[in-house]
C-alpha cells in the first residue's frame, strides 16, 4: 500500500483552529470580562491541538462555518492531560462511592 498523506484539518467536520497570541488572549478575556478558567476547554491531546502545536495555557480561536448565523466564533482554553486526570480521579472517587450505595 502506498503511503498517503493524512491531514485531518482537511476534513469538513474540523473547523478552523488558530492559536491566539498573548495580547489577543488578554483582549478577549477583557472583552468578555472573564478569567481563563471560565472558558470551555480543549485537551492537549486533542488531535487538532497536536497538529497546530498549541501548548497548555494557550487559547484557541475556533471559527465555525457550520451555523445558522453564518460564521460563528468560539474559544477554547488548552488544558494539559495531567491536570485533567487529577480532576477525573476526584470525579471517579465520587462515582465509585455513588455506585456502591444504589441500584
Amino acid at each position: 500500500m502506498t503511503k498517503k498523506k493524512i491531514n485531518i484539518l482537511d476534513n469538513e467536520f474540523v473547523p478552523q483552529h488558530t492559536i491566539l497570541t498573548e495580547e489577543e488572549s488578554n483582549e478577549l478575556l477583557q472583552k468578555y470580562n472573564v478569567t481563563y478558567d471560565k472558558l470551555p476547554l480543549i485537551l492537549e491531546s486533542d488531535p487538532v491541538v497536536k497538529i497546530i502545536g498549541a501548548k497548555p495555557g494557550n487559547i484557541i480561536k475556533i471559527v465555525r462555518g457550520y451555523s445558522p448565523a453564518g460564521k460563528s466564533v468560539f474559544y477554547r482554553y488548552v488544558i494539559g492531560e495531567d491536570v485533567k486526570e487529577t480532576l477525573e480521579e476526584e470525579v471517579l472517587d465520587e462515582i465509585v462511592e455513588d455506585d456502591s450505595g444504589e441500584e
Binding site: I8, F13, P68, D98, E102
Partner: protein, 385 residues
C-alpha cells in the same frame, strides 16, 4: 438611485450591532433593490435601521432560561418518537439504530454505539467508477479466514485444523493461497501449514485438546486483510458518485486507504470522531446525528437547541454525558445534585464533608422557595434614598 458607497457607509455604521453574515446579506439585497426600484437615501437608512431593530429583537434576552427551553424543545418531540426503529441506510441491509434509542445513545455518550457506520466518500479519480469503488471496498472490508472458507474443523486424530477454502470468495477478495499462508504463519503456535487442493492443514505442535480448541478460535478470527472491526462494506450510488457504507467503524484506518476522500468521509461513532478528528468535529457530529435522527422521524427542532446541548457536552474538552456521571453530576450545588438522582448519597456526602450551598442556582432556590436568578429575577434593585 443612491450610490453604492452610501449603502456601504450606512452598513458600516451598524457593523457593531450586526453580525458579518447579516451585513453581507443586507448588502446584497440592498444592491439588488437599489437597481430595481432606485431607492432614496431615506429609504436605505430606514431599511437598515428596521433590519437592525428586527435583529436585536430576535436576540435572546440576558437571563433567558435557554437551557430549560432547549430541554423542553428536545423532550417534547421525544414523546412522539417511535420506541424502536431500525432503518436500512439505503443499500441492502446495513441497519442503523434510529429514533429514541439513538437519541438516548448520543445524549448518554455511550462508548460503544449499537450500530457504528462509516460513510466513505472517494477521491476524484475513484468516485466515478464502480470498479475502483469495489477495489477500495476490498481494502476496507475485514476478511478473516472464516469468511473465505467453506468449512473449518478440528481434526482430533492428527491434532490439526482443516480449512476448506472457497476459491470464488478468495478471488473476490484478491487473495491467493500463498498470501493466506503467509498471514497465518504470523500467528503464534503455528508449526506447519500444508495445502492440498483447497484444503489447508494447520498443525500446532504438541498440544492438548483444550489448547487446540482455543487455537481454532484464534485462527478463525485472524484478520487476513482490511480494517479490523469493519464487518461489511457496501457500495451505493449517490447522484453521480459511488459512496461506500460500512458496518463497523474505524475512521483512522479508513483515512489511510488510498482513494478515500478524507475531507468528507465520516463515522457515526462520536467518541471515535473525538479521537481522530478532535473535540470540535465531535461537537458538530453530535449536532448532525441528533438532527438527522429527528428529521428522519419527521420532527423539526430548531438547530440552536441541539447546538446548545452539543456545546454543553463538549465543554470539558471531551464528551460528557448528560446525566448523573456527566453534567448533572458535576453541578456545584448540593441541592441541585440531590434533586436529580441518588438523593441520599449526595446529601450524606455533603453532610460528611460539611459542604456549603450558596444557593446561587435555579433548582436550589425553587426548593427553598425563593425567587430564582433567571430573567427578571436575575437583576437586583436597590431603592434610591
Amino acid at each position: 438611485m443612491v450610490d453604492t458607497s452610501f449603502i456601504d457607509a450606512q452598513l458600516e455604521n451598524q457593523r457593531e450591532n450586526l453580525t458579518q453574515f447579516i451585513v453581507d446579506k443586507l448588502k446584497d439585497k440592498l444592491y439588488m433593490a437599489n437597481e430595481k426600484y432606485s431607492l432614496s437615501e431615506d429609504e436605505v437608512s430606514s431599511i437598515i435601521e428596521d433590519s437592525t431593530k428586527a435583529y436585536e429583537h430576535s436576540l435572546v434576552d440576558p437571563g433567558e432560561a435557554v437551557g430549560t427551553v432547549a430541554a423542553q424543545s428536545l423532550g417534547e418531540p421525544g414523546t412522539q418518537m417511535t420506541l424502536n426503529t431500525f432503518h436500512y441506510a439505503g443499500v441492502a441491509d446495513i441497519n442503523v439504530t434510529l429514533g429514541l434509542p439513538r437519541i438516548i445513545e448520543i445524549v448518554d455518550a455511550r462508548k460503544d454505539p449499537d450500530t457504528p457506520v462509516m460513510r466513505i466518500y472517494l477521491n476524484e479519480e475513484s468516485r466515478g467508477s464502480r470498479e475502483k469503488a469495489e477495489e477500495i471496498v476490498k481494502e476496507i472490508e475485514g476478511t478473516t479466514i472464516e469468511s473465505i472458507s467453506k468449512s473449518m474443523k478440528i481434526d482430533v486424530i492428527n491434532m490439526s485444523i482443516v480449512v476448506e477454502l472457497d476459491n470464488y470468495k478468495m478471488e473476490k477478495q484478491g487473495l491467493t493461497i500463498g498470501d493466506i499462508k503467509e498471514k497465518l504463519y504470523k500467528l503464534k503456535k503455528v508449526e506447519s501449514i500444508e495445502d492440498e487442493d483447497n484444503f489447508l492443514t494447520l498443525k500446532a505442535g504438541d498440544v492438548s485438546l483444550m489448547e487446540i480448541r482455543k487455537f481454532f478460535n484464534r485462527v478463525r478470527s485472524h484478520q487476513l486483510k482490511g480494517i479490523k472491526s469493519v464487518k461489511r462494506a457496501l457500495i451505493k450510488k449517490e447522484g453521480e458518485e459511488y459512496v461506500i457504507y460500512t458496518e463497523g467503524s474505524n475512521l483512522g484506518e479508513a483515512f489511510k486507504i488510498p482513494g478515500v476522500d478524507l475531507t468528507r468521509s465520516i463515522s457515526n461513532d462520536i467518541h471515535e470522531i473525538q479521537r481522530v478528528l478532535g473535540i470540535e468535529a465531535a461537537r458538530r457530529s453530535i449536532v448532525d446525528e441528533i438532527k438527522k435522527t429527528l428529521e428522519e422521524q419527521g420532527l423539526e427542532v430548531d438547530i440552536r437547541h441541539i447546538m446548545l446541548l452539543a456545546d454543553l457536552m463538549t465543554m470539558e474538552g471531551e464528551i460528557k454525558q448528560i446525566g448523573r456521571h456527566g453534567i448533572s453530576g458535576e453541578k456545584s450545588s448540593i441541592l441541585a445534585r440531590a434533586s436529580f438522582e441518588v438523593t441520599t448519597n449526595h446529601l450524606m456526602k455533603a453532610a460528611k464533608f460539611g459542604e456549603i450551598d450558596p444557593l446561587s442556582g435555579v433548582t436550589e432556590n425553587v426548593i427553598i422557595g425563593q425567587p430564582i436568578p433567571l430573567g427578571t429575577g436575575n437583576v437586583k434593585l436597590i431603592m434610591k434614598k
